[in-house]
Chain length 412, copies 2
């Protein structure tokens, strides 16, 4: 029945941007894609553009919500401590052979909302542990990588609950196209300009070389020490294989690595966090010596505390990111229930693993050297949103002097 | 539009038979499934029955016909020498960790019919080479494995070209259910009886210990020497992990390993062979010293000759199988364009890799020992059909005496 609510021309442009801007896929390079089955129409457009760009071999690993739910419904308790180690080990081999990585996000954010939180957290933990060998090569930028989104029906209905499924999917598709800057005549030129604007911001921050950032606002009085030798990044990023990629589409953030031992104070979340199918809302966290020692939330408190017990590094920060409150995604006024979107509508922090590339000369540093400079290590990396139009941020120099970075959520 | 042409109760029984008879999945055992995307309804039923049977983790790798065709349409020439080595290496790791293997067949048999034969054969060869580490653990029965089928629409229309897609899918579904013995009240009991009947046949053949089989019929005058220490098998099979599985659903054959150096004479195919999306028809082959030295075909001759050039073992036999002409699949009168079905309607031979388990004590033999006994090795294993109601087969003893095995395609 019915017409397709997703504009096919813009969908094709999104696929082209994923290959030409997101990955900058090299001639002859293989591509490994992961996607929910519902995103097959975008997978097929991307596969076509990858081969047109000279891809070697494109291989897609699909996930299926119904199969995931069958596990929660029927599996033995022991199943929830298992991960597909063989698959992730294979992926790591692919990355070592210079295969590019593209992930399509768009799962139903509430997929696991009704499931036993203990099983959910154990399954996540087992999956994270199994995924680590592959994830380290991605976060370490051994290869060019990219995430884009596809408007899954359940996701669309969550954002637009009062619309029919068809209308909701069309609205979410348009929001994705706008945020991903493919609603213009020349998306590739638009991305060039956007990357230049982000570069202006991170260049300024790198010139300042702040020792810490101080956040003030409702429920927030937080100091985040920055790692020794940190550098700010944003937009395009050069991978170790020499290819400049845009890992996140959309992206509005500039970000760097906090010092895992130098975070003090309290902070409140400003948007709900959707984590592996469950929502965590109204978080209030207290940090001491870099460690999140207390977490309260009006919803999902138990689940998030379990996630924070994944490993020693899970309660420490791996990322601090600045996004102006007026950014286009924030201006849409939508809550996307999807970290890729919501983190880009708001300044945020991430629990867990840091990005090696957020250090000066990071590509050459060993994990031990990164750790010594204050970089955190963990099997998780979970962003949560702490920015709003009520937050002021100061940059504090090593000598204790400070200057404004953001005022009421905007660049000062 | 329209009702579902596939009987959901029988589909569920097929899923149950795949887990309980095909795999005999053990409590806590992981499962690796491969399937075309169109087979998702069966994948989901199987996933459910796997977890109900106590599966650890079920992981499905989907293939997509549209992505495959995009490669032929847009990829660089160099792409066709690439295989997903990382994925198959991962699968091999899974099997080494005792993961069971289930393949759902049901691709469009004509998918690649319009493509450049050189690209098709190079892509097949690259894929076979990459797949070898995983395939050897399957054919070597390191783990329990199984193949079942799902009625893909394009496949159904090929078999029933004069019916609407819906009618054709319904007819193919019913043919699959009947051949797979799930159209009865108690499919598990039906499989028990069928396995006992097959055992009677292979026990008789093992007792005879023939040195060779002699085939006579229209266009066929062929002697197939059997490997030293060969044993006949059929139906249920014990894997090295101790689990008895039924690798093929359906299955009607008893089979063993020919001697790779002792095949002489001429043989004609009796049904078309559908190989990776192309049809090969009216094959006539001549063997000398075990080697297929000449192959003619009215259709697909070039493609099949290219396949036979994959490696040294590709022109030698890895399997000889006996199926009575009156078997249920043959009695359906349908040409399925799918080896799993057509090979079980007809006595057949296979080019390429032999099954280690078709030797007495095969599980303990090294590849070198198997080779010394006459077992063949290759990156391919391709069955083709040489049985009909016009073929007589004699069993020849080591002393040259002989006795009838089949007359006019039936057990003598
Ligand atoms: Zn971020
Ligand atoms: Zn992050
Ligand atoms: Zn066979
Ligand atoms: Zn075979």
């Amino acid at each position: 029945m019915s017409s397709n609510p997703i504009d096919p021309v813009k969908l094709d442009k999104l696929a082209q941007v994923a290959i030409k801007v997101g990955l900058q896929l090299a001639e002859g390079q293989d591509l490994l894609m992961t996607a929910p089955m519902s995103a097959a129409p975008l997978v097929r457009r991307i596969t076509e553009h990858a081969y047109k760009a000279g891809a070697g071999l494109v291989t897609t690993i699909y996930s299926d919500e119904e199969a995931t739910l069958a596990r929660y419904k029927y599996a033995n308790d022991k199943s929830f401590d298992k991960g597909a180690a063989w698959l992730y080990a294979g992926m790591a081999e692919a990355f070592k052979a210079n295969t590019a990585r593209l992930a399509i996000s768009g799962d139903n954010p509430m997929m696991l909302a009704g499931q036993d939180p203990d099983k959910v957290s154990r399954a996540n933990r087992a999956n994270s542990a199994a995924y680590k060998p592959a994830l380290q090569l991605i976060t370490g930028f051994d290869i060019n990588w990219n995430i884009v989104s596809y408007p899954n029906a359940a996701w669309a209905k969550l954002i637009f609950p009062n619309d029919s499924e068809e209308i909701a999917v069309g609205k979410l598709a348009d929001a994705i196209f706008k945020a991903s800057r493919v609603d213009v005549d020349d998306p590739i030129a638009a991305w060039k300009e956007h990357n230049a604007n982000l570069k202006k911001r991170w260049s300024w921050l790198n010139g300042k070389n702040f020792a810490s950032l101080k956040y003030s606002g409702p429920g927030t009085d937080l100091t985040i020490g920055l790692a020794d030798g940190h550098r700010w990044k944003g937009g395009a990023s050069e991978a170790k294989n020499g290819i400049t990629c845009n890992p996140n589409i959309p992206t509005e953030e500039v970000f760097t690595t906090p010092h895992r031992l130098r975070v003090e104070g309290t902070v409140s979340s400003t948007k709900p966090l959707s984590h592996n199918g469950t929502l965590i809302e109204d978080m209030q966290a207290r940090f001491e010596g870099g460690r999140l020692v207390e977490l309260k939330a009006s919803k999902g408190q138990d689940i998030f505390n379990r996630v924070l017990d994944t490993d020693e590094g899970a309660r420490r920060l791996g990322e601090v990111a600045l996004v102006p409150h007026s950014s286009p995604i924030s201006a849409s006024g939508l809550l996307f229930y999807n970290t890729l979107y919501d983190e880009n509508a708001s300044s945020h922090i991430a629990m867990g693993q840091c990005y090696a590339d957020c250090f000066v000369g990071g590509k050459e540093l060993t994990q031990e050297q990164i750790f010594a400079k204050g970089g955190n290590t963990s099997n998780i990396h979970i962003d949560w949103m702490i920015g709003s139009d009520k937050i002021d941020i100061d940059g504090v120099h090593a000598d204790g002097s400070s200057e404004p970075v953001m005022r009421k959520g905007e660049w000062a």
